[in-house]
């Protein structure tokens, strides 16, 4: 199982690298679809069918929106010669990556080996959850019963994002 997921994540990394370096913006957007749809397969392998259903539709809608933005604009990204600012940002990126690598190396040792055990929190959510919530789908039970506050907060963020989009797009720009 770990090997299969590793291969798919490797493909996702290749797709991400191509999406970042592609010259045509349309092919960059479509290459970013590799990452999203690869994530769907990972979710299916990791026994998370709820997430797979959401992710496959969300990825499609994201691609439609991105293509609609990119389609009738200048799609060629102009790669000019690297200047001082470009070097500075590249050096910053390398420095940040080294620092984050160090911290991840420390923190990954605190995690259990992949697939051996779940978090301690899983026990109370699985034991007797069906009697408490009456729901056969444990994820729905957690989303709307044990963690109802979270869901209400996320729904509020969704409303706020929609209001933000409407505000940005309805402004009459100064001529």
């Amino acid at each position: 199982m770990e090997l299969a997921i590793s291969v798919i994540v490797g493909l996702m990394i290749l797709g991400a690298l191509y999406a970042i370096h592609a010259k045509d913006l349309l092919s960059a957007v479509i290459a970013s679809g590799i990452v999203g749809y690869g994530l769907v397969i990972c979710f299916l392998l990791l026994k998370a069918p709820d997430l797979a259903i959401v992710q496959i539709v969300v990825e499609t809608i994201t691609l439609i929106i991105m293509v609609a933005v990119v389609f009738d604009s200048s799609r060629e990204e102009s790669f000019s010669k690297p200047d001082t600012q470009g070097y500075v940002s590249a050096i910053t990126a390398v420095f940040l990556i080294i620092v984050l690598f160090y911290f991840f190396k420390i923190s990954v040792s605190a995690l259990d080996v992949f697939g051996e055990s779940t978090l301690r929190m899983a026990g109370p959510y699985i034991e007797g959850a069906t009697e408490k919530t009456g729901s056969a789908n444990l994820v729905t039970g957690v989303v709307f019963d044990f963690r109802g506050y979270d869901t209400l907060g996320e729904a509020t963020v969704l409303v706020t994002a929609v209001l933000g989009v409407l505000t940005i797009l309805r402004l009459k720009g100064k001529k």
Partner: protein
């Protein structure tokens, strides 16, 4: 935005209804099978987006639809909030209390208030994503005119 050809339109007419029904199935069975309000809402929004892409804006009055979907979105989040507050009236008086009778596990009508939350969150998610899409389409049309 112009619509597509006749074949695409007819095929979309056939498919969009089924996609819509699939979204409703996912929402209503959210407490029994994989799925729920978030998944089903996104699927329902996808069926509407399919129709809009195929038929174009000559057929549909987009501005009117956008105001309608904004209204549905806000009403749905209000109902979810009222359902959550209603837990304060009964029993141990906890926010988000599941005070409906639970029923037997595995039946369609069971799990207390979870199906109600599923339905209204589904409406909210579907209306939100449809509103975002319509806002982008209307903006593009206004610019190109």
């Amino acid at each position: 935005m112009k619509g597509m050809t006749l074949i695409v339109k007819k095929t979309t007419q056939l498919i969009a209804g089924m996609v819509f029904m699939y979204g409703i199935y996912i929402i209503v069975h959210g407490h029994l099978t994989p799925g729920g309000g978030f998944a089903g809402g996104v699927v329902i929004a996808g069926s509407f987006i399919l129709l809009i892409l195929a038929f174009g804006s000559d057929f549909l009055n987009l501005v009117k639809e956008e105001s309608g979907s904004t209204l549905y979105e806000n009403l749905a989040i209000l109902v979810v909030l009222f359902l959550a507050v209603s837990g304060l009236l009964f029993g141990t008086r906890v926010f988000f209390l599941n005070w409906f009778p639970k029923g037997t596990v595995g039946q369609l009508v069971s799990a207390g208030m979870l199906p109600l939350y599923n339905i209204f969150v589904g409406i909210e998610v579907a209306a939100s994503i449809l509103t975002i899409f319509l806002a982008l389409i209307i903006f593009k049309e206004e610019i190109s005119e």
